[in-house]
Amino acid sequence: MDVILLQLLNGLDKGGAYALIALGLTLIFGTLGVVNFAHGALFMLGAFCAVSLSAFMGLEKVTIDETQMTAWGTPLEVRTPYIVDWFGSAGEFMLDFSVPLSILLAIPVMLLVGLIMERGLIKHFYKRAHADQILVTFGLAIVLQELVKAQFGANPLPQPAPETLSGAADIGMALGFDPHTVVYPYWRLVYFAFAAVVIAAVFAFLQFTTFGMVVRAGMADRETVGLLGIDIDRRFTIVFGIAAVVAGLAGVMYTPILPPDYHMGMDFLVLSFVVVVVGGMGSLGGAVLAGFLLGILQSFASMNEIKSILPGIDQIIIYLVAIVILLLRPRGLLGRKGVMET
């Protein structure tokens, strides 16, 4: 029972990440009709916002101690972060909370990245074939990740969660389990809550603001909305920015779970496409539903009990589910008719 509960938590946590990435991807599909292969790269850029901030805050005052030598024969360098030097314990607190603080950096940066990407590149590809969109955004993804690699190297860079959130919570106790049976890392709980909040915010934004209403109308019938004299293109540009921010935030908050490296975007790319397609192209609710569904199924498929009956099932479960769902429901779980079918 405790094992099931833990796997459910794992699934929700994974699902949160899948849903966040897929949400932006499907938003871009639904509004702009663009297949964005650079979406994984946006996730990766978000993660590197966190890396940059902690690197920036971690800038160190270097004093060279000539009396001591390193093993490789250079004088020993004594390093203290400027921020600690200046602000004392407040500085230490900021260093500790660099990942959550990175959200503040990631929002403007990712918005800007999104706007530049859309205005500079994507908008020229609205009317082009999907194959062209794939090629150009894939090229962009490679360029972005190679630039990050040139700057930060290829190895993962650890981004610890804040000290107070780095342990694990004994949540089983509250639910009547024995102590120490259902423990779960604080940060993963934070991540799940964060994913839920962001998803809710995006839905609320589209549901309850006039801006969102116009965007939804535009998703349903772009031409008609255009005929009403509403500048739908500019709104779609902003939608692209929002999608970039959502992907970026997913990346920022994921860094304590998965030490970021330049290639992490590609690792998530295929998966996020599968999630979007299973959910139904252009369906926001579908993306969220499919994200959680696949996350949970993946978790359960990895259990020893199941693997011993079906070896290797955990490696293919996502794809297997995608195949079954697409054959049973041609347009995905909540897909609308006519989207991306030609």
């Binding site: 833990l6 794992n10 190895n155 694990a168 304590p256």
Partner: protein
């Protein structure tokens, strides 16, 4: 070659069949047939091929390997401070290149994919005339390139490859490995684990689901079960899983009190980071402190796991903090060139380049069979791992193995591991029948 005559006949027939457009081989100048082995160096220089991962997950290790090779080339050509040449027990290298020929090199990107690695190795052999191929950062690639070098008739000096198979069931006469393997890791780690954790332990293995992972799991199981440990479960995880939470949570209540992570590279960084997040380093099970073991450590990768490596045991081929003369000379030489200490990948590849050059010098020829014979059963010292034997039977180096632990109070970002035990060579040696190597004859190619 019992089929030589058939070959010759068929060959003429075949080439005639290729038809117009290609001249028949008879018009070729005869010197094309005179080369007695692949890429025999005829000029004043000799070309080595450095095949390292430049893209993909191991790009940083590949970059470090390349740095070490460039340093070795400098030293071989008599530039720089000579590094380990001065501490190496064999003194035939004079700093005038190899056999008086200046050492030049070409590079290739393995991408940590067998196909890409073979393609770039072929380019270096077929186009650039490389006489020897070396490098790599995974066993799949090492075995693939080793097989290629056997076919092409050049020597392969393996880089970072830890699977038993490289010098076990997939060994080749033209291939040589300086790095240690999972069998040695198991043999070296077991006594240390016994001292630290006792003999009454239950281990839970998470294993990367491919050849190296299985090999590592098998070795650790074998040696820990000899200690009296039990194995609760051994679970296979997909390569590049990213999030390992679904494999980690079953560990919590399995009754196991040791978690063995048979992962390498990014998988190791991720699974270790996440295991620590699940509180596994501070946990108590069966009245004992829960322990995590990472059988194969890489310092470059351990940096990616940050603070999570603290207090966690593993094994490694070499570490820059070693205090023997060879290691000190190498660290100094490398550090002054690049400003930071070398990794074990850099060390093993540097050694391989030096060992190759030395063998050529001693053999007096670049001919692969002659060089190979010079390397076989070669005893040497002064390259950082103590007295070492290049065993002739399977072309595996036997030397001391380091058991390391994540350092509690690192003084710099390079200082993440501390050496807790140098397991002497005698303890990690194994018989020739254990891994079943059948390497076949040398191939000189052409």
């Amino acid at each position: 070659m019992s089929t030589f005559s058939i070959n010759r006949r068929g060959l003429l027939k075949g080439s005639a069949a290729l038809g117009a457009g290609i001249a028949a081989p008879t018009i070729f100048p005869s010197y094309a047939w005179a080369a007695s082995y692949t890429n025999e160096p005829t000029g004043s220089s000799v070309t080595l091929g450095f095949n390292v991962p430049q893209t993909g997950a191991y790009a940083d290790e590949g970059a470090d390997e390349l740095r070490a090779y460039q340093l070795a080339v400098k030293h071989l050509n008599g530039e720089g401070d000579g590094g380990m040449l001065s501490t190496f027990s064999s003194k035939v290298l004079k700093g005038n290149g190899i056999l008086g020929k200046k050492v030049e090199y070409v590079t290739g990107d393995t991408q940590t994919k067998s196909d890409a690695a073979r393609a770039s190795a072929k380019r270096m052999i077929q186009k650039d005339g490389a006489i020897m191929i070396t490098g790599g950062s995974s066993s799949g690639v090492a075995i693939a390139v080793q097989g290629l070098c056997q076919e092409e008739g050049v020597i392969f000096m393996a880089g970072l490859t830890h699977s038993n198979d490289t010098t076990g069931k997939d060994c080749r006469a033209n291939g040589f490995r300086h790095f240690f393997n999972t069998e040695m890791s198991g043999a070296a780690l077991a006594p240390v684990l016994k001292n630290a954790y006792g003999t009454d332990r239950i281990a839970y293995h998470l294993t990367a689901d491919y050849t190296w992972g299985w090999s590592q799991e098998g070795s650790i199981k074998k040696y820990t079960e000899q200690l009296g440990w039990q194995t609760a479960a051994a679970v296979r995880t997909p390569l590049g899983a990213g999030d390992f939470s679904q494999y980690l949570t079953p560990v919590l209540n399995s009754g196991a009190d040791v978690l063995v992570l048979n992962h390498y590279g990014k998988d190791m960084v991720n699974s270790l980071t996440q295991a620590v997040q699940f509180g596994m380093r501070d946990k108590q099970v069966n009245g004992k402190d829960f322990a995590i073991v990472v059988p194969l450590y890489s310092r470059l990768m351990a940096q990616g796991a940050g603070e999570n490596v603290k207090g966690i045991f593993g094994s490694t081929n070499w570490h820059w903090s070693l205090q023997d003369e060879g290691s000190k000379a190498f660290v100094k030489s490398f550090g002054q060139e690049y400003g930071f200490p070398p990794s074990q990948a850099a060390h093993t590849t540097y050694c391989q380049a030096i060992l190759y050059a030395d063998a050529v010098e001693r053999a007096g020829s670049f001919r692969p069979s002659a060089v190979g014979a010079a390397l076989e059963d070669f005893e040497f010292d002064g390259l950082g791992n103590g007295p070492t034997l290049y065993r002739g039977f399977d072309h595996q180096c036997f030397k001391d193995v380091l058991v390391v632990k994540g350092k509690e109070n690192p003084t710099s970002k390079f200082d993440v591991l501390e050496v807790v035990e140098v397991t002497p060579r005698a303890q990690v040696e194994y018989g020739t029948d254990l891994l079943g190597c059948n390497k076949g004859p040398f191939n000189d190619g052409a």
